[in-house]
Structures are given as structure tokens and as C-alpha cells.
């Protein structure tokens, strides 16, 4: 039985505690195991559904398409497969959405699309999502899930790290809050660019969050890694993540933050006593 997937549509086995759950309950509880609390991965669409106001998400920029500049071996077939599997054109979906009625610029990553890897299209979408927030004075919410940069686009993927970060600078200049939600996994080139310079960083419990892949960091280990290395909890203790938020509380936390940090955008001036 595959990870957190439906068995004949009725049952599902938790990959973490191995207990069996009713599919309906499992989906209703946002794919969080009721026995062990494990947060199973969500698709971009499910994430949107449980995060933003019902029906408020309007996708934009869905017309972007990858160009295989390097003619990288096997890239296009893999890409096509991912498109078919996910119904998305790349690993990120962006758009306008609302949180308790407040407009936000929203982006959500799809780990199922080539491991959520960031090539030019994903980079462009993240950048547009941030720029839209800066231009229209909307807080930006990015839900991350990525193994890192997309190797198959080579150097063009690498520079997406800079491109997406430049857009964060735009948000800062515009006084627009940028909140990153790190879900399992948020790694490497995505972690080492826009996501880590968000104003607020929230993470789901036990999400894997790290710079180097397990292989690399194991080789490089002079110091022994702690048992919770590269988990959200460890990264929280290390000061990189502001809060671990359970999935059922995520929407409420985002609303509280957008309400507080984005107040000046809605009223023009938010100073007490002014």
C-alpha cells in the first residue's frame, strides 16, 4: 500500500505508524494521521483548498512553459509525465486568493511534479507571485515543497535562486509581508533562496528542511548529526523557523499574521494613536 494513498478507495495505511485509517477520515483530517499525528504530503490543490477562503484562489500565469535549452537527457519525457500526473504545467501554482476576506498573493508548490524542483518556470512564477504582492500591496504566502533546483535546466535553474530573491527585495521595499510555509520537504536551492528570507517562516511538524541532501551532509559530517537533524523541529531550535504549526492550525495562524503584519496595507496607516 503506497504512502498515505487510498486502498480501493476505503482504507489507507499511515507510512509513519503503519496503522490503518479510513480514507474518508484521513482526507477529512487533512491527511494528518489521527494516531501518530504524521503530516502526510498534500497536493498543491488540496493545500489550496485547506488554506485559503473557499473558492477564492484564482490561478494566474498558468500559460508558462518550460524550454529545454540544454536538451538535457530524458528531461522532456519526465516533464511530460509530471504534467500528466499532476495536471500542472510545472511544480508551482500561483494566483490571487483570500484569507478571511483579506486579499493575498499566493503560491503553492507541488512536490509530485519532479520533486517540486525549481527550474525557470517555477522561478518565474515565484518571482511573479512576490512581485504581484509588492505591486498590489498584498501580503504574500508561499507554501514550499521542493527538493531544490532542477538539475535538468542547469545554470538557468541556479540563477532562479537569485531571481526569486530579488523579488523578496521588492516586497521589502514595498513594505509587504512575505510568509513562507515550509512543508515536507523544503531543501537546497529553494531553502537557500527566497524561502529563507521570508519575514515569517512557519513549518509543518516533522517536515524535512535542509540545505544539503542526506548524501552530501552525511559525507561532510565531522560532527555527528542529531537524531532530529533537518526536521522542522530541529530547524526551529536553530532559529531558522519561527513556529511549528499543525496543519489544522495553519490557516488560523496565517490569518492572524496577515491581519497584524498587513494592516498598514489595508488602512494606509496602522499606527496606534495616529
Amino acid at each position: 500500500m503506497p504512502s498515505g494513498e487510498a486502498d480501493a478507495g476505503r482504507f489507507v495505511q499511515c507510512t509513519s505508524c503503519r496503522k490503518t485509517l479510513f480514507s474518508a477520515d484521513f482526507e477529512h483530517e487533512l491527511r494528518v494521521c489521527r494516531f501518530c499525528g504524521h503530516h502526510h504530503r498534500l497536493s498543491a490543490r488540496d493545500r489550496i483548498a485547506c488554506t485559503f477562503d473557499e473558492g477564492s484562489f484564482e490561478e494566474t500565469d498558468a500559460g508558462l512553459r518550460t524550454v529545454d535549452v540544454l536538451k538535457f537527457p530524458d528531461y522532456m519525457p519526465k516533464h511530460e509525465q509530471a504534467v500528466t500526473k499532476t495536471g500542472m504545467n510545472d511544480s508551482v501554482m500561483i494566483g490571487r486568493a483570500k484569507l478571511d476576506g483579506m486579499p493575498v498573493s499566493a503560491g503553492v508548490a507541488e512536490f509530485g511534479f519532479m520533486g517540486g524542483s525549481m527550474g525557470v518556470v517555477a522561478g518565474e512564477k515565484v518571482t511573479r507571485c512576490l512581485e504581484r504582492g509588492a505591486e498590489e500591496g498584498m501580503p504574500v504566502i508561499m507554501v514550499c515543497a521542493s527538493g531544490g533546483a532542477r538539475m535538468q535546466e542547469g545554470l538557468s535553474s541556479l540563477v532562479q535562486m537569485a531571481k526569486t530573491t530579488v523579488a523578496v527585495e521588492r516586497c521589502r521595499e514595498a513594505g509587504v509581508p512575505f510568509i513562507a510555509v515550509m512543508t515536507d520537504p523544503t531543501m537546497a536551492g529553494v531553502l537557500a533562496s527566497y524561502a529563507s528570507v521570508a519575514d515569517v517562516i512557519l513549518a509543518e511538524p516533522k517536515a524535512m528542511i535542509g540545505f544539503a541532501g542526506a548524501r552530501v551532509s552525511k559525507q561532510a559530517q565531522v560532527v555527528k548529526a542529531p537524531s532530529d537533524f533537518q526536521t522542522a523541529e530541529w530547524v526551529n531550535k536553530s532559529g531558522m523557523v519561527d513556529r511549528i504549526v499543525e496543519r489544522r492550525d495553519m490557516r488560523g495562524t496565517l490569518i492572524a499574521l496577515v491581519r497584524a503584519l498587513g494592516a498598514h496595507l489595508r488602512t494606509g496607516k496602522a499606527l496606534v494613536g495616529a
Binding site: G175, P177, I201, L257, A270, V272, G273
Partner: protein, 330 residues
């Protein structure tokens, strides 16, 4: 000389136990005459307690103020956060090294309007105290504070700091990660802010660790809080090689709220409820809330540049000195 605030609270405790016993007895009493007598006695004891409290708290020595400011019965940061403000969302990271539990901060609402809160949190029992490192922040605490200050500036949120720390953490690791730099950088960051900043000294204002987050446009101080350049015991140890002379040092250092007000170091003393903030927390919280709201409303009309300039000027003129005219010097 008192060694703990409990020494002068002991008579109150005893009186209150008596009052409680008598009240219970009076309730059980069926004879109206006897009940009336008991109730009268209760009233008398309450009167006695109040007179004692009033007298005692109106003549606390500076050393007793020190003991009281350190008392685990005092309301702490999170008590105020939970009553004065609403919808607090704690943000933990310094984005550098760690999550400091002595320093707490994040956005919240004050009368429906967003503010950024930063302050130190003490613990009431050993477990809490250890978790909070006795409210002694390490560098990562001050670096988190800087992050939150800068965020508040970006999002035009007034900053409210609640100060309550014996000192910054003085350990080897803190030195190695630059506790001195962290304190200085926090002050520097506060001077750069273009939003109003109000600080309230709610308990212990312990030297550099305190002023690091108290570079405000308005500095308020609870009546029984203290604010000192050095712990009195430390001062006594250095100057007189006798740490037990803390009481003398406390008197010399001018660390009480009235002294701080007189020196112009704080702008306003917030009177505490009858017998101290711990005796009536709701009233203390209301005073703090009003104090902050009034301060913010006085600062309200200023432009971002004026706010920054105001803070600059406030600290620029700190301290008195004499100056011979240049002509006279030459």
C-alpha cells in the same frame, strides 16, 4: 535587613489565613449574634492587613524594591501579553543560531491595532526558570529582537517592549557568540526605527541586558520595578569587596522608579495597585495598558522621521554634566 520579599509579606499571609479561617467559621455559625461578631472581627483583621500593607509598601527601602522586583509573585511578560494585548503570535527565530526562550516577541493587537511586542520572560518554578534561562537572553535573543524591530518598521507597527531581566546571559557561549555586540546592535537597530517605540520596565531592569531593548520614545516604569547599571550585590563586591553590602549599594545606585524619574531616565512612573502589582494584577494590567496607549497617542502625530529624531534627542541629552566655556578652558 530583608533577604527576601517574603519577610514583610509573612504578616500579611498570617493575617489572611486568620481571616479565611474566621470567614469560614462565620459562615458555619447559625447564631446571628455570634456570626455578627465574627464578621466584625473579619473586618477588623482586613483593616489591619490593609493598614500594614499600605504602611509597609509606602516605605520600602531601595533594597526591598530590589527584592520585590525579583519576586516570583510579580506579574511577568506573558501575563501582560495575555491581558493587555490580544492575538499574540510568537515568532521565535533569530535566523542565525537558535531560539532564545528568555526573549519573547511577535505581533499582537492593542485595542484592535497591531503592535510588535518584545520582552523578557521569567519563570515561576525551577522548570520554567531553566527553560527561560532566568530571563537572561543570549545573543540570539537580542538578534531575534532586532529582526522583530526591523519587521515592525517595515510594516509600520509600533513597538512595545516589556523589560524584565536580571542581566544578559554572561556565560562563555554568550561571549563567544558576541553578547556585547548583540546588545549594542539591538540599541543601534532601535535608533533606526521610524515607528513609535514604548518600553515598560515591569520588573528587573538589569543593566545592558535591559537597556538593549529599552531605547524607546517613551520609557515607562512600574512603581516597584528597578533599573540599574549593575546588580547591587555586584556593585558592593567590586567597590567594597563585600557582596553582602547589597542594601547599601542599592541605596547608592538610585535604581528605584522615583530615582529614575528624577534623573530623567524614565518618562513616567506607573503607580501600582495598593500593595503591589501582584496583589491586583487586573488593575496593574489596566495601568500598563493605559500607560502604553497614552504614550502611543502622544507619539501618534509625529511623522516617521520625527519619531526617529525624537528618540535620538531623548537619549542624546541623557545625563548631567558641567561644561566650562571654551574660553575658560583655554
Amino acid at each position: 535587613m530583608a533577604k527576601t520579599w517574603k519577610e514583610w509579606e509573612q504578616p500579611v499571609l498570617e493575617l489572611e489565613q486568620m481571616i479565611e479561617r474566621l470567614e469560614r467559621a462565620a459562615q458555619r455559625e447559625t447564631d446571628p449574634a455570634k456570626r455578627g461578631a465574627a464578621e466584625e472581627k473579619v473586618q477588623e483583621l482586613k483593616q489591619r492587613r490593609d493598614t500594614y500593607v499600605q504602611l509597609r509598601y509606602s516605605r520600602l527601602t531601595p533594597w526591598e524594591e530590589v527584592l520585590l522586583a525579583r519576586a516570583e509573585t510579580r506579574p511577568y511578560l506573558l501575563d501582560y501579553v495575555g491581558t493587555v494585548f490580544t492575538d499574540f503570535t510568537e515568532l521565535e527565530g533569530d535566523r542565525r543560531y537558535g531560539s532564545d526562550r528568555a526573549m519573547v516577541g511577535g505581533p499582537a493587537f492593542l485595542d484592535g491595532r497591531p503592535v510588535m511586542i518584545v520582552g523578557q520572560q521569567k519563570g515561576r518554578n525551577l522548570q520554567e526558570r531553566t527553560f527561560r534561562n532566568f530571563a537572561m537572553s543570549k545573543p540570539e535573543g537580542y538578534r531575534k529582537a532586532i529582526r522583530l524591530f526591523e519587521m515592525a518598521d517595515r510594516f509600520r507597527m509600533p513597538v512595545v517592549t516589556l523589560v524584565d531581566t536580571p542581566a544578559a546571559d554572561p556565560g562563555v557561549e554568550s561571549e563567544g557568540r558576541g553578547i556585547a555586540e548583540a546588545i549594542a546592535a539591538s540599541m543601534l537597530a532601535m535608533f533606526g526605527l521610524r515607528v513609535p517605540v514604548v518600553s515598560v520596565l515591569i520588573g528587573e531592569g538589569g543593566s545592558g541586558g535591559a537597556i538593549a531593548i529599552a531605547v524607546a520614545n517613551k520609557v515607562l516604569m512600574l512603581e516597584h520595578a528597578i533599573y540599574s547599571v549593575i546588580p547591587p550585590e555586584g556593585c558592593a563586591a567590586i567597590l567594597w569587596r563585600d557582596p553582602s553590602k547589597g542594601p547599601e549599594a542599592a541605596a547608592a545606585l538610585g535604581l528605584t522608579s522615583s530615582s529614575a524619574l528624577e534623573l530623567g531616565i524614565v518618562d513616567k512612573v506607573l503607580p501600582e495597585p495598593f500593595g503591589g502589582a501582584h496583589r491586583n494584577f487586573a488593575e496593574a494590567a489596566a495601568t500598563v495598558k493605559t500607560g502604553i496607549l497614552e504614550a502611543l497617542s502622544e507619539l501618534g502625530p509625529m511623522s516617521p522621521d520625527e519619531i526617529k529624531r525624537h528618540r535620538y534627542d531623548r537619549f542624546r541629552k541623557a545625563g548631567s554634566f558641567e561644561e566650562a566655556s571654551r574660553a575658560a578652558v583655554r
